[in-house]
Symmetry: C2
């Protein structure tokens, strides 16, 4: 366990991506993969791949490629994917329903246990076989079906209140789509999805492409 602690934050950021690619390889029935092949999809150097896997310790012999199943298992363990996570969705609008519908989560050990909203228009609707409940029933629900992750897809003005409530009821991980900064106790983890940041990253890349095209045209002129 001490060894795991030493993994740098840069490597940690790459782990979910490794895991995602390795799952695809596994589904395709590919049992071994070279650092070179992984480096192309990961957009890093193959020596970086080797160094990453060396840090976790003994994932394969260089030259023979890495054992895909072993990597999936070990990286999955580091990522906390070896336990099943029960999730509740708070906010059953389009985004909440889209996330609840995201079939691939379940294959990876994430289970949607309940969906909640305060809007009577949504309550009673069924998403993936789960009836949307009124948020007032959250306390009762959590006492019977303890969940560990809350997906926050409410409008930002409600986010802090529902997060506080969820944490009081035992939630340990907040997947936050509400574009608002959250203050949580030390033992609660938060992961934010900031759609606007991603969109800005796109326009930055587009600007780069425009400028490099213009520069090229100028050189050729």
């Amino acid at each position: 366990m001490k060894e795991e602690k030493k993994i740098s934050s840069a490597v940690i950021k790459r782990l979910p991506k490794y895991y995602r690619y390795l799952l695809i390889l596994q589904q395709m029935g590919i049992s071994r993969v070279s650092s070179n092949d992984l480096s192309k999809t990961m957009e890093i150097t193959s020596s970086q791949v080797r160094q990453d896997f060396f840090n976790f310790g003994g994932f394969g012999l260089q030259g023979y490629g890495y054992d895909v199943s072993l990597l999936v298992k070990e990286i999955g363990k580091i990522l906390g994917m070896d336990v099943t996570h029960n999730m509740i969705v708070i906010g059953a609008g389009n985004l909440g329903q889209a996330i609840a519908n995201h079939a691939s989560f379940e294959k990876r050990g994430f289970k949607i246990a309940g969906i909640f909203d305060n809007n009577p228009r949504h309550v009673g609707d069924v998403v993936r076989g789960i009836e949307i409940m009124h948020i007032d029933r959250l306390t009762e629900f959590m006492s019977q079906h303890p969940a560990d992750i809350a997906i926050i897809t409410v409008p930002r003005e409600y986010a802090r209140d529902v997060v506080d409530k969820a944490i009081r009821l035992g939630i340990k991980g907040i997947w936050n789509f509400a574009s608002v900064e959250l203050d949580v106790p030390e033992d609660v983890a938060v992961e934010n999805i900031h759609l606007s940041e991603s969109l800005m990253a796109l326009t930055y890349k587009m600007k780069e492409k425009r400028e490099s095209k213009a520069a090229k045209a100028k050189t050729q002129a």
Copy 2:
């Protein structure tokens, strides 16, 4: 322009986050901000903030704080936010409608021009005043309302086809929610949203919290 090129990719990744915080400050009527205050929300050191802004060149005098409006303007320019982007949404399911509904985009110069789907069930519905059109009308639409960004919210099996079509019609930026790798021409930018990677980052953080709590309990025992 040459100067901008030198901005490292690590800084580039921080720019959308800076921009988001600075917009919030601007909305709150705050005109100056210190590197120290920014560093807290950015979760980096204040000297890193100073170095980042120094790299862009002259955003304020250290000690007097930075001019928020100037930063918004200059970082906005670097991010390609000084031009209005017209976007089309391809895939009008829950996720597509959720993205189209995301009001904050428009304030930042992103305009949803059209929404498309191949499912007759969605066609004719209205989202934010825009009627969902059948995907067969995309060519006609783009000839009359050229857009530069396509938001891809179709199921993954359709993604590559609609992306190819959108690019043939002049789209230069792909915001991809379809969890599938895309091959695009050199002058087209792609930004992927991998929800599953974000969720795994959350479970990793949760595991870290559990382990550090357990370690603490052990020390105290």
